[in-house]
């Protein structure tokens, strides 16, 4: 297929239904991303006033949230059917100075950087300089965290051994469950009152529990106020409009806002509006990781849809338009702007809200319904950056749904990714969830499994495995800075066997994980104490019943994750050392180390070529290298799980294997590696083989990946790139579906496809102005290719493109 034909086919794939939706979509896609000062100004005013001094922290936070909900702007996109928006308008993003204060330099970088800027106006800069920075500096969560972390933690962080999720964003990473769609705020207020009246004053935690419940009640009131302000505004707009059709719509919308979120929704439209108010509330309260998500949306909405259709209130076309309007609400809420390292580790406007489709119902029956298909259709027609989707495939999922999902993958936007739902259930059960809670679980963020609506599963940071090998090979030293940041595990030149090297690596890994876990405990305690989230806590079971905050262990299940990065690079590096140094004796360790330290320059290039081309590699169904990869996964799980539950939340410790875009940053801070990778180049992403080395085809990749025991992890991300011709006909889609079934039978967790040719990507690099809309799969999400930093663009091009099968 020619580049032009390929580009044309992609463009034609986007076809939003009604004129209204087409216009809203266009406005949403075109809108520039800006920083909105309003929230930061209000929250600063509130705390500056000193009115809450002396009150318990949760109550302070709840009152601050109420202060916001009483005052924030009430934007209504012209012609929208769902109201509520975090920020002053579409893509106007608030900041959260109580969590992370941007410096003036940060604001300048955000405003002026070439890729993914956030426009910052003069007033915002002035207000930051005069009020926000002086007030919050030293008080924000980020400042508190860095004040309390030990020096060995800071040293590893600065060296790029890990990143820290909670330094700029609040714990979040959660999805709504049934409670979100079945309860109104008035129901929850009743529940709060019931729990409050049942509290025992002799309970040693009586005071904390009472404060938390009071805070929850205030937070519930806050959103009721926000909704009734909208109802009033819509009524006024209805009076002013000259268009009778729009007047009727606005009156209807006002009526809906008078019913939800106070009471449980009764109709499809109410359910969407209800959820969206809660989404806005959660994302105004803090800037939680991966925002928030309706989770298993086809399951939650189906009863409303079915009843409305049966009772003649709704047609399929109307439902579709409502879903499309709903879709654009997500796209109008880009990720919050980050600073420093975090800006590189996840370089995107995408805020990772993920809508799950398919899977099973709580009773174990197939979950695919009419809405699952309808939402795939919406995805195909909209093709916006957000929201993200996930298709959950169980052994009970019909083939036609899987093939339908692959049809949606074929045009090449990277969505939807596919997940092994039977594997999700095994993972949940292994962690001790009930069977019903496992069946109503799903995946959020990129590939992260969680018991939706019932679990606080917090991601704490990415761990750079290749960097830990580099430090092992330098006996505890970071060669980039010359600082000793690890422990002494022996001079590798004296290792007699591969086993000695492996043990040294494991000791180094154990050391770093221990330091990281210590940091995690400190940060968890700081959030539990300083940043309770009474509003989010309303929606996650069993926070109200336990009278305990989401950030303090109130949820039914508590988990903490470390995200492991660089499996492919590490597996190939260890395989190369085992093969060439300890078995074939092609080189001595000394020779390899000298080549690494020289970054394979000059005559060392030959050494590099041999290590790169003449070693068994992960991803080619070669047991030699795959056994090493499997051992890495097993050991990473063992090491992390060996730590006792966290002190505050009593969270178990688990691992994910996923990178977002951090593999580029980790590559920058990691010197040459024994797999032949040169210094500064990205490390491998997710659990995918090293970019460009998987030359045995997709079936071999799946076999290699599936040899690792992913059921012991919380999820693992696999990217595959396919040439567009491969998905061009029905017969091939069917065979790809069969291949995916087998991958999942073997234990694979996830796979996503970039269906794009390297030629098209090169063309887009040359003429970015003509390819503004070229969307590709990055990690657990898609993004506009021309907006990506160059390093990431190159990394995506370098991934092996499977052209034949």
């Amino acid at each position: 297929m020619s580049v032009h034909l390929e580009a044309e086919k992609r463009r034609k794939a986007i076809r939003p239904g009604s004129a209204r939706i087409a216009r809203l979509r266009e406005e949403s896609v075109r809108a520039a991303v800006r920083i909105s000062l309003e929230r930061a100004r209000l929250i600063t005013e509130f705390y500056q006033s000193g009115q809450v001094q002396g009150l318990p922290v949760p109550v302070q936070r709840a009152l601050a949230f109420k202060y916001l909900m009483e005052r924030v702007s009430l934007p209504v996109e012209e012609g929208q059917l769902i109201v509520g928006l975090r920020g002053t308008g579409p893509k106007e993003v608030p900041t959260y100075p109580e969590i992370c204060v941007h410096s003036l330099a940060d604001l300048e970088i955000l405003d002026s950087r070439e890729n993914m800027p956030y426009r910052v106006d003069e007033e915002t800069r002035r207000f930051y300089a005069e009020e926000i920075i002086p007030f919050w500096r030293g008080k924000s969560m980020r400042d508190l965290i860095f004040e309390h972390l030990p020096p060995e933690w800071i040293a590893a962080y600065e060296a790029g051994v890990w990143t820290e999720f909670m330094e700029q964003r609040a714990p979040g990473h959660t999805a709504g469950g049934e409670r979100v769609f079945r309860m109104g705020l008035l129901d929850i207020k009743e529940e709060i009152a019931r729990v409050l009246s049942g509290l025992d004053p002799a309970d040693p935690e009586y005071y904390e529990k009472r404060s938390e419940l009071q805070a929850m009640d205030i937070a519930a009131d806050a959103l009721l106020i926000y909704a009734s302000r909208y109802a009033k505004k819509l009524e006024e707009m209805a009076k002013e409009t000259t268009d009778p059709l729009r007047r009727e719509e606005l009156e209807k919308m006002a009526e809906i806002c008078r019913w939800v979120p106070a009471r449980a929704p009764r109709t499809f439209w109410e359910a969407l509006q209800h959820y969206w108010f809660i989404h806005v509330g959660v994302t105004y309260e803090t800037n939680p990781w991966d925002s928030f998500s309706p989770g298993r949306i086809d399951q939650h909405l189906y009863p409303f849809y079915k009843r409305d259709i049966e009772e003649g209130r709704l047609t399929r076309e109307q439902a579709k338009e409502l879903l499309q309007a709903f879709w654009l609400k997500f796209n109008n809420q880009p990720a919050v702007p980050k600073v420093g390292v975090t800006a590189e580790e996840s370089f995107t406007y995408n805020d990772f809200s993920k809508l799950n489709l398919g899977g099973l119902r709580a009773d174990g029956s197939d979950g695919v319904n009419d809405l699952s298909y309808l939402i795939l259709e919406v995805l195909e027609e909209m093709r916006t950056l957000q929201p993200n989707t996930a298709v959950l495939i169980s052994s009970k999922t019909p083939d036609r749904f899987l093939i339908r999902a692959l049809e949606a993958v074929a045009p090449g936007f990277g969505e939807p990714p596919l997940f092994n739902f039977d594997g999700v259930i095994v993972k949940m059960l292994r962690q001790g969830k009930t069977l019903e809670d496992a069946r109503t679980a799903g995946v959020s963020g990129c590939v992260e499994t969680g018991a939706f609506g019932k679990e606080c599963y917090i991601l704490t940071g990415y761990l750079n495995l290749p960097k830990i090998l580099e430090i092992t090979l330098h006996n505890g030293l970071d060669p980039r800075t010359g600082k000793k940041i690890g422990i002494e595990t022996g001079d590798p030149r004296e290792f007699r066997s591969y086993e000695e090297l492996w043990q040294a690596f494991l000791r180094q890994l154990e050391y770093f994980v221990r330091v990281k876990m210590k940091g995690n405990d400190i940060i968890e305690a700081l959030y539990a104490h300083h940043l309770p989230v009474p509003f989010l806590s309303l929606w996650i079971e069993d926070c109200v019943r336990n009278a305990r905050d989401y950030n303090a262990g109130g949820a039914r299940y508590n988990t903490q994750y470390l995200q492991i990065v660089g499996l492919g690079t590490l597996a190939n590096a260890l395989s190369a050392l085992k093969f060439h140094v300890f078995e074939r004796r092609t080189f001595t360790m000394e020779e390899v180390l000298r080549a690494l330290d020289a970054d394979f320059s000059g005559a060392h290039e030959i050494t590099r070529q041999i290590l790169l081309n003449k070693s068994p590699r992960y991803g080619e169904d070669d047991d030699y290298a795959d056994t090493i990869a499997k051992a890495i996964v097993d050991e990473a799980v063992r090491v992390v799980e060996s730590f006792p539950p966290t002190p505050v939340r009593k969270a178990s410790r688990r691992v994910y294997f996923l990178p977002t875009t951090v593999h580029v940053y980790f590559g920058k801070v990691t010197g040459a590696t024994p797999d032949g990778r040169k210094a500064g180049f990205p490390v491998s992403e997710g659990v995918s083989p090293v970019q460009g080395t998987d030359r045995r085809g997709i079936a071999a990749v799946f076999r290699s990946v599936a040899k690792c025991d992913w059921d012991k992890t919380g999820g693992a991300l696999l990217n595959q790139k396919l040439a567009p011709d491969l998905l061009a006909d029905e017969e091939n889609l069917k065979k790809l579906a069969q291949l995916i079934r087998v991958f999942f039978n073997m234990g694979g967790h996830h796979v996503q496809f970039n269906v794009v040719s390297a030629e098209l990507l090169r063309e887009a690099q040359k003429r970015p102005q003509d390819f503004q809309d070229l969307m590709v799969r990055v990690a657990g999400y898609s993004d506009y290719f021309v907006n990506l930093p160059r390093g990431l663009q190159e990394e995506i091009i370098a991934r092996t493109e499977h052209r034949h099968w």
Binding site: Q609, D621, I698, N732, K735, Q738, L739, W805
Partner: protein, 301 residues
Amino acid sequence: MEKTGVVFDIQRFSVHDGPGIRTTVFFKGCPLRCRWCHNPEGISPEPEPMFFEYKCLGCGRCARVCPTGAITFASTEEAKPTLNRQKCTGCGICAEACPSGAWRLVGRTVTVEELISTLERDALLYDRSEGGVTFSGGEPLFQPEFLLAALRACKERRIHTVVDTSGFAPTRVLGDVAPLADLFLFDLKPMDEEDHRRYTGVPNRLIHENLRQLVEWGRPVIVRVPLIPGITDTERNVQMLMSFLTELRGGIQKVELLPYHDVAEKYQRLGQTYGMPLLSRPSEERLRELRARIAQVIPCP
């Protein structure tokens, strides 16, 4: 003793050589010399080095390790090696020593057991897609002992087998293979005997006889016709093909047309010249037209 054979590639997740998802095993060695041959590395029965020029670093290791002195660098300025294929014994030491993989030895000896263990890696894929293994080449019937042993081993394990053949083999060999293979992919090249000899190096009478035999034995057959502009797509050839197919109708499941494409680069890597003039791929229109004509006799999707 364990039967061994020489293969030059094992391709997994292959979807064009028979039903379902398959593993295609390419046997090395072929009695034909088709000018358009897509797999020239499958012609010689011996392992031989292939050279990927773009990977070559010009480091000179290959010349230093070659035991017969077959690899030389013309001068000190000459960055790329030259191989004297007369002197080359196909030992593969150069490929072993080459750091970048510019030299690759095509063809390796495998036992039936090794072959089966590779096939079994994709057993779940065969099950789900009703696929299996396809023995292709080269010419699989050119290594009859190995092929028979492999087919028997597959039969024992209930792996579906396809034999992709030029049909140029003693009828006795075909007779041994026929009951063991689940399906034949049978190539028909130029129908005119003289043309066949000119373009493939062998006559076609035996081939046609073998096809008649297979049909007579009631074995499932799919006929494949490489569509070479000016050679097999001429009106005369199509007419001759049609009358042969009409004779065999009922005994053949379907006919597949394989449109020509250019593989000149592969020949360069083997130090050979491609015997075909520069031709363009047959047009979609022409393909549609021919398929429709053949479909009047035998299905031709």
